[in-house]
């Protein structure tokens, strides 16, 4: 039995070897994080551990002990959506929507590293799959969120 901090709440997890994905979905009951491949290939399961994007399907839950896990449900702060969430809505990004939690979590970590990316850097920086082909709108939304972020800082 281990304890994990997920979105600021403490959850008890049976088994440190269980992938973080299933700890989040089945033990913490947070289903916004998705299962797409189970092999680190698609990015649907992307969450943050201490602000860094990880593919939770291949990350043992034990790796997050004493760290802070953020999932899509915890990305907004104090009820205010993250600028990326607003940008994804504004650009009408999701189609089926299944990959989008992972896309947004990957994008959030990406913007943390590189707050004012070029279009080319956005294209190269996002490795999550979207079978609905929403890539162009994802790129537009990340660029929009980056602009918002830059404006807020100015």
């Amino acid at each position: 039995m281990i304890k994990l901090s997920i979105n600021g709440a403490i959850h008890e997890i049976d088994d440190p070897n269980m992938p973080l994905l299933w700890a989040i979905r089945e033990q913490a009951g947070l289903t916004g994080t998705k299962f797409g491949c189970g092999a680190g290939l698609c990015g649907c399961c992307t969450v943050h551990i201490d602000g860094e994007a990880v593919r939770s399907c291949i990350t043992p839950a034990g790796d997050a002990v004493d760290k802070s896990v953020t999932t899509i449900e915890g990305l907004a702060s104090g009820g205010v959506p993250h600028p990326l969430q607003e940008a994804f809505v504004a650009e009408n990004v999701p189609q089926c929507g299944y990959c989008q939690s992972g896309q947004i979590m990957a994008a959030a970590a990406f913007l943390q590293e590189n707050p004012s990316p070029t279009d080319e850097e956005i294209r190269e920086g996002m490795g999550n799959l979207c079978r609905c082909g929403t890539y162009l709108r994802i790129q537009a939304a990340i660029a929009r969120a980056a602009r918002t972020g830059t404006e807020e800082k100015l």
Binding site: G32, A39, N92, R131
Partner: protein, 745 residues
Amino acid sequence: MTRQASELQNVSGLSRRAFLGTGISAGAMVLTVGLQGGALKAGEKQASQQLNAFVAIEPDGTVSVFIPFVEMGQGVHTSLAMLIAEELDVPMAQVKVKEAPLGPEYRLHWDGAVRYTGSSLTIKDGFMPMRKAGAAARAMLLQAASEEWGIAVEELLTEAGEISHLSSGRKAAYSTFVTRAAENAPPLNVPLKKSADFKLIGTPTDRLDMVEKTNGTAQFAIDASPPDMLVAAILQSPVFGGRIRALDKDAALAMPGVVAVEAIPNGTSSFVDYVLAPPDHQPNDPTGTVAVVADSFWHAKSALKEVTVEFEGGAEAASDQAFSARLRSRVGEQGVAAEEAGDVDAALADAAIRIEADYEVPLAAHMAMEPMSCTALYEGDRCTLWTGHQSADWVATVASKILAIPTENVKVVTPYLGGSFGRKNNADYVVQAVSLAKRFPGRPIKVIWTREEDTKHDFYRPQVLGRLQAGFDANNNPTVFRQINIGDGPQRHAGFAAGQPFDHSVMDSSANQPYDIPNKRTEYLLEENAVPLGFWRSVGGAHNGFFIESFVDEMAHAVGEDPVAFRRRLLSKSPRFAAVLDKVIEMANWRGAPWMADDGRQHAMGVALHEDHYTIVGEIAEVSLDEYGMPKVHKVWCAVDCGTVVNPSSAAMQVESGIAFGLSAALMEKVEVQEGAVVNSNFHDYPVLTAQEMPQIDVAFIERDAAPTGLGEPATPPIAAAVCNALFTLTGKRIRTLPIQAALS
């Protein structure tokens, strides 16, 4: 699947009741009781009032719209709600989408025979019923206001969910009148708005599902979690159609959280053995799947590794390579004509110039991002399903057959689908979940497939070979076109093609293409494939768009003409096609020869023009080769004629998505089958298009005041040909077998 209506009606015996043929018939109205559980009786205060099968008004003024189509990314929940809101005069902010329950009034396809989401039919077949439902509800509210106020209906106005009377200054919300309205008889033949008066239709409108799909609250089938649920992980016979010979459960049963290890049917024959089967039919569905049932998926999946199982039988000889050889061995034969004009054989014999080419597409998988999942609860003589599907009626029929209960006792809860692209027409995973639920009455059981199961047990885009032939007279005018498609298709596999001369899913969109060539024949030749075949986004268009539009390019080059000019001169009798081609030429600023681009590489354009699911699409792709000699698609211009565009915003999304899906398959997708089993297993050995490979896309719709046609699929067929045609201009090499990357390496 566009022409199987009669087949479906006959086989399934579904009601033919034409609910909306002449407006909303009184019989279909639900006047006193809401359709959803817990609804209140008419006349009770604070009740939600159902004005017709599609519209209810809540006490707070919210308009609930009951949608019988699934949302798998197309944006149709929003577009259909827009149609109702348009005629009802309510703002979209006031509209809430709910899932329509089962019932004949929700079968909107093929003369009221079928409820189903697919074949790019949702907007085409939903357009009038939704508008009529909105208009009828408005008329009922106006009638009620007229009675309440003692003012003639003609003097009343509706706007933004309110009824007003200008001269007296009276104004009240719809909810004020709804109880009275629900007591009135529903009107017949309510007039609809003229298109010039549309406020919503044709206006880019934000989708209703955007916020929940960006904050993790959107519910998908895989997220279902009714209380006391068990979860199952499954392993199917890797060989298609195999069955379990020996099963040792003991080690798995000793694993944490494990409740049971069960042998269950594969469900691959869900159409033939369940959906379409007559009542006394005994399923011939092999027990070839092991399910580990546990308290969580992680426990179930971990324990599955401990199961020792031997499978036997099935399609052990199936191989995609051997199938290809079989197809090629038959190219000289004659098939059944699906379309015929003139005398093709004589014209070919007389031609001054003749060309001929063989094209082939491989098996391809759907790879929807959400793996298959179904939760089933069997309790007493009732069943509840939580699952993604493309027809609530079909999955209810599956449950009713397995549990021997009437379909009325089945409740279907449909969360969002994490993609489908045709995959979830087949209800194999529903068969599996219901078979398990039957053994654990009272406990919901959720089946979740791994990606490996999803890859290895899809219903694949068929492997088809096309031989195409053309002839020209001495003046370079094409006189004859012949196409024969050899292979097998999903319509025959699903049992819809019985008694038909040919399988439409192999031939659709080979017929009715626009070029004015006097002698023409398209033929179908069946070569049975033991690999399960399915409806894959654009179905017949997926291979026919590639075959025909590549070959038309070959025809242009054979007579030394620019591919655009050549097509253009054959379109004199097809003005809609000509308009689409002209539009896309203008958008792309067409160049028939390669050029040196700013990135220091040679670029070239290729064009393709194709009608699929009643919609005409023209695409031009700009392509170069990278340092490894692999194609890079920089940009795609796309012009579309789909009649009226309901929501231009989500319509463009569907076109982008259709191009991405087709491009992914064209460039890199191929399912390999050896000894009856799929070799590929996950995204590492079945790669799909990534962000880096996604081209820029420009979409334009031809403005035309006509009934809408489909959009989910028609953008997919032309892209493979557009890219291959560009590559021919760039390199002089003609690609006739997909995927392109394999053909070039």
